[in-house]
Symmetry: C2
Subunit: 459 residues, 2 copies
Amino acid sequence: MGGNASGKQSPLVPLGWEVLYYVSGCLAGLLGERKTVTELRFDQWTNLYAPRVGHMKSSEIRELLAVTARPDVISFAGGLPDTRVFPVHQVVEATQRVMLREGAEALQYGPTEGHEPLKRHIVSIMAEWGIEVGIDDLIITDGAQQALEFLGKIFISKDDIIIVEAPSYVGALQAFSGYEPNVVAIPLDEFGMRTDILAERLEELAKLGRQPKFLYTIPNFQNPAGVTLIEERRREITKLSKIYGFIIIEDDAYGRLRFEGEDVPPLRSMDENVIYLGTFSKIFSPGMRLGWVIAPKAILEKIIFAKQAANLCAGSFSQRVTEEYMSQFDWRQNVESLIDLYRERRDAMLTALSEFFPEGATWSHPNGGLFIWATLPDGLDSGEMLAEAIREAKVAYVPGRACYVGKGGNSSMRLNFSYCPPETIEEGIKRLGAVIKGQLALYRSLFQEYPPESKNGSE
Amino acid sequence: MGGNASGKQSPLVPLGWEVLYYVSGCLAGLLGERKTVTELRFDQWTNLYAPRVGHMKSSEIRELLAVTARPDVISFAGGLPDTRVFPVHQVVEATQRVMLREGAEALQYGPTEGHEPLKRHIVSIMAEWGIEVGIDDLIITDGAQQALEFLGKIFISKDDIIIVEAPSYVGALQAFSGYEPNVVAIPLDEFGMRTDILAERLEELAKLGRQPKFLYTIPNFQNPAGVTLIEERRREITKLSKIYGFIIIEDDAYGRLRFEGEDVPPLRSMDENVIYLGTFSKIFSPGMRLGWVIAPKAILEKIIFAKQAANLCAGSFSQRVTEEYMSQFDWRQNVESLIDLYRERRDAMLTALSEFFPEGATWSHPNGGLFIWATLPDGLDSGEMLAEAIREAKVAYVPGRACYVGKGGNSSMRLNFSYCPPETIEEGIKRLGAVIKGQLALYRSLFQEYPPESKNGSE
């Protein structure tokens, strides 16, 4: 029988849930939102839950989406593409054509693997991006997020080892944590995952007789750090996967949003055993909830079984409308417009950071994607500061520690630049800079005679 | 570390996977489909899978959807509503209005709980159906199927006890089986689940110190049996849930498709701790992949966490188009038309069964829904017969044993009547009757002198 979930605690705490508890509590309190942290509510069913529920906590993504809905808050917290510039008449036209031509099928159940014409379209896109696959090498998922959930379900047993980047995408950590892994987090630098440290960790694990199940990486314009994994390290990782027998999961959500420079070959193009995740969320629309996963056929079959159990198939309606849009309209031109828009906003944020953030603060300079990762001086705590930032300055961000498993990220923050216009970005960073400078002055006056021990920094 | 999944087998075999193996193998072979059963393929990653993967098998739903796509096969196998009669221009109009009014939001991420106006619409529908809830008592899921997956994840640890009907919905058995439960299956009669047998089993389990996690029922026009749980037994089940401390999951996928007679009050109207699953798949469109789950707040929060990890949110596009359709068009009138259509088809199937099935065969007489459950005489095996039915007679159905956990259902079959027009139903049942009569003649000539021991029948 399942134990009492709420009284139980894994030795290695995945996802740093006490941090999420703090963050969500803080935001909920400030915003007058309904409290979502279960521990505060009497729950008569705790004896019925599976122990894994103890690891299934609300991420701050949820709370932060609530913040973004408030018009008086400038939010750098979400990971939202800007859908406001999208030519909506194209979707209307695509829907009309689909419904008149194949309305009954668009309203019906479809195959678990996905709508075949859409899969064919993905095959041709992937070829352009350097990955040669056939139509049977991939299935359609509900965004890349659903593939993460499936991979957790398929590979992770309680206490299995998985490898992630530090920091990493909070939604991936959340999807994996439901299956109770032990997480080994490998730090990033400006060239992506530190493969030298990875090699050391793998050797240590091998000595202990432990084989990691998989390594999860976001190689392009990483969420949250904004860095891109260089080709040499990509090759190194595929070599290590052969030596130590783990699977590589390559989450390429942001690869098409490159503002300058040359594409780096995907890991999947170097090794056909790599599991590759793609999504329409950043090149078309997150509201369609469509992504895809490419995997070796044996693994893909497990993913299909998981997809059947999860929701039978992706929506026929949104798949067919998306296929019609991709094949009948110049989606590449729309992506080019987005890139121009986001580049301008990134530049606005970089300029504002230089102007308004205090000396000693550092930040990444991403060549694409949606995020800048900033680190505060003197070990200032971004999590503790968030309450004041929202209340006093009406500006929101993701505290860095939410992107870490266990310790780390306390001084850092994820700043999204894709959603707000340049003026708003400048205003928001100005306000945030003032909060930071105020905290810094307070901090320095408190500790000028008794400097605290160095805190656990982000990198 | 996770063991070798492929070499491992639970003592109580969930979902009767060897049956699914047989069924899918048989269908795939006959139809020249790609073989989907993993055991036939060399899989270098078996040492990396979590043990639960050993229970994640393809259901024949997948194979059967492939069958339905072949124009020369009359398929009674799917569970498809008939979307061919749907006024598609209403969807075009709804999409146009949504995109012009709120295009950016329809293409954007949305809240995990679902689009609020759609939730409000569900609240008002539920009130009409006898269930009083507020907007915070439910969330939107990707069809009712996704709620089943979440409930498995939240409640089931390996070897936990769950209670289902025998026979039950194969997709539910599949969703639960991924979490490795021990399944107690309670037989049905024409009044639904046999609560006398349920009470006995619960007492036996209590003596063994085992508490079931939940009881899963499809009370209206059950899939696959077509029977409706009578009110007296509904009250009995809610009483037993209080005594023995398990949760009730009420899957009401078909309740709105009543052809005659009066609605029976939902279990959720008798007990507010019941988890209720609804879906737009049968009253609007499965292609939108939208359903909802009503649960006590503490449990609903766990479901929200699971939804975040699974796919962040349901699609904004399909939610908003569905909401526009439900609020701007006379969806009740469309459902009435469906009911008239399905009633006529059920009658056609009942008439054809009387005419073409051999003496000794029996079948249910559903007052609604999509399915008739037929049982063959003399212990004829519907699973063994399926190959011939498809090859010789070009007619498909779901063999009864696929709807059972472990043994049972060998002589039975699920026949869908909602998808084919009456003439096709008559023709299909005629062909199927001929196959059965042929098998019966063969069987009787073989065993007239040495009758076999009675086989494990369905009911």
